[in-house]
Symmetry: C2
Subunit: 336 residues, 2 copies
């Protein structure tokens, strides 16, 4: 079924408010979910809402917590998320970091005990729009096998980077797995097969069956290099945030455990080196205008596709799978 962005935002916000989330926090959580839908990332969209509502009901997510912030050092903010909603805890950290980064040039927040923070691009873009280089990292359940391995031992450990360019910000957001587990779930929800090379089953055999992959492991992207980057994220986040390592992580894909993954948010202030003066936007235009391998597919830069999909979805509405619509209506009916 097709919905307008406003209708979905209202639906998600209302359901969160009815679960005790204050209106402003509910609006932020809803925005992060809807922005994922708008940008063509349903894996991080409303399919996560029923589970989150269940987590609120069970006390695994705290409706009003914004995180306890401790400036462990002048540039190092340690955050205990106190089971708060991921977007609420991260944005509170970003608001605290921003003035500090503007003062010292660089600052980092290391966050544990917050719920799933959703699409990382949202925070990278927020950082870039405030004039900062923003780097966002987080960990997850063990879902990815090592390069040359067969068992799920690493999180999907995404990396997002936002950079002000003088024009549209550069926004990169990638899982260090070939695909996110959310995308596997989205395929499973739609009954669609996976691409070859995305995943192995529980026995470590390559599979294109989305249901089998949910019990198996995702491949790291880009072979040994992507594995190395994912592992660096795994270690760095656990070390700095004091969160758990993938084999022990729970709580981003279930409604039975506290979320014990970690999140890092790094801001660097480029002031003194204005993006405009560096010609970043002109350089990105040069890339877009450079000769493509396939004449029908112009070269893009990270964020281009996302912006185009967002504009189209704002105009044409957002398609949700019927199963998800039924699930959300069920929750709403149960609360009426």
């Amino acid at each position: 079924m097709n919905f307008s962005e406003q209708d979905l935002r209202k639906l998600a916000g209302d359901l969160l408010v009815r679960h005790g989330v204050p209106p402003e926090a509910a609006a932020l959580q809803a925005t992060v979910l809807i922005e994922a839908e708008l940008r063509g990332l349903p894996s991080h969209g409303l399919q996560r809402l029923p589970r989150l509502l269940s987590r609120l009901e069970k006390g695994l997510a705290h409706p009003t917590a914004t995180g306890h912030q401790d400036w462990r050092r002048p540039g190092f903010l340690a955050v205990d998320g106190e089971r708060g909603l991921g977007p609420v805890v991260v944005m509170a950290a970003l608001e605290a970091l921003a003035p500090k980064a503007a003062e010292t040039g660089i600052a980092v927040a290391a966050i544990r005990n917050a719920n799933h923070i959703g699409m990382l691009a949202y925070y990278a873009e927020q950082a870039a729009e405030r004039g900062f280089v923003g780097v966002v990292l987080c960990t997850s359940e063990a879902l990815v096998h090592p390069f040359g391995g067969t068992r799920a031992m690493l999180g999907t450990n995404p990396i997002a980077i936002g950079i002000p360019t003088g024009a549209d910000p550069f926004v990169l957001d990638l899982a260090t797995s070939q695909v996110s587990m959310g995308r596997i779930h989205a395929r499973a929800l739609r009954g669609e097969p996976l691409e070859a090379g995305w995943a192995v089953d529980a026995q470590g055999r390559p599979t294109t069956d989305a249901e089998a992959a949910k019990q198996g492991a995702l491949a790291p992207f880009g072979g040994a290099k992507g594995y190395g980057l994912g592992l660096a994220v795994e270690l760095m986040v656990a070390l700095l945030a004091g969160s758990d390592l993938a084999p022990e992580v729970r709580g981003t894909l279930d409604d039975t455990h506290v979320a014990n993954k970690g999140d890092l948010l790094l801001l660097i202030d480029p002031r003194g080196a204005a993006a405009e003066a560096c010609g970043l936007a002109e350089y990105l235009d040069l890339l877009r205008a450079s000769r493509p391998a396939d004449p029908g597919r112009p070269v893009a830069t990270p964020g281009d596709g996302m912006r185009a999909r967002r504009a189209a979805a704002l105009r044409d509405g957002i398609d949700l799978p019927d199963a998800l619509v039924a699930q959300l209506n069920g929750v709403r009916a149960a609360m009426a």
Copy 2:
């Protein structure tokens, strides 16, 4: 020909000293080159020395400069390398950053106008051995084509990450291209072909000819994701260091231009969250012991292969191609 590490270290150091480099700086530059040889990365080894000596002769590299350091903000060190030797300028920045990062929790150095810094793993490891999470990024000449593109528009833009684990440090060092241009040059020097998918020629056609690839472009690693990461490094380094973007960069592969690429060095102090307590080393051992896809190839973690190759080369010596030996002897004879 086979040489001991000590002999090569002495040869490189002597040649640098005879070009006016102070003994301590010459020893550091020699160490970074020899460490690359020891770890099986000849692309960043002695094949770069003749060019560097020529750069010293021509004034493109300054023999005694260590870089002008300006603390633009309490956590942001802006460095004008003053055409100094890359390792000398970077290690001077690291020495300045370390006490600051220990105090504020995080600090960054943005370096321009330094010569090629060589193998990034060296600095990442230095950072980790001092107890810091270290991230090293740098840019280069335009050598890599965008994902879906055909023209060399980005640097190989490597990323190195060092993390203390309580045992051997985790050391990741990767080019965001499929391979480094140094490796293409090493293959060309040895008359060996490339693997398919590494590069395109000057006309944008896939090639396995190392000489043709030198005139063409390298593929980014890992498709769109690796391209995105390489581009993030490109933009971030240029913006923060005030260095040039790839199409304008010269001076790391020639002896005719000043080096106008940039380098970033980021240190984060994890103290308060000891690596030992986090179980990082035990987790890395779990990965190594996990079931491999090929029973004959155990799972490795970044740095394992490097350490094994280093130990073997310290024992068995370092093989240099005859052409390189002749070139180095020629330089030595000319100076006698």
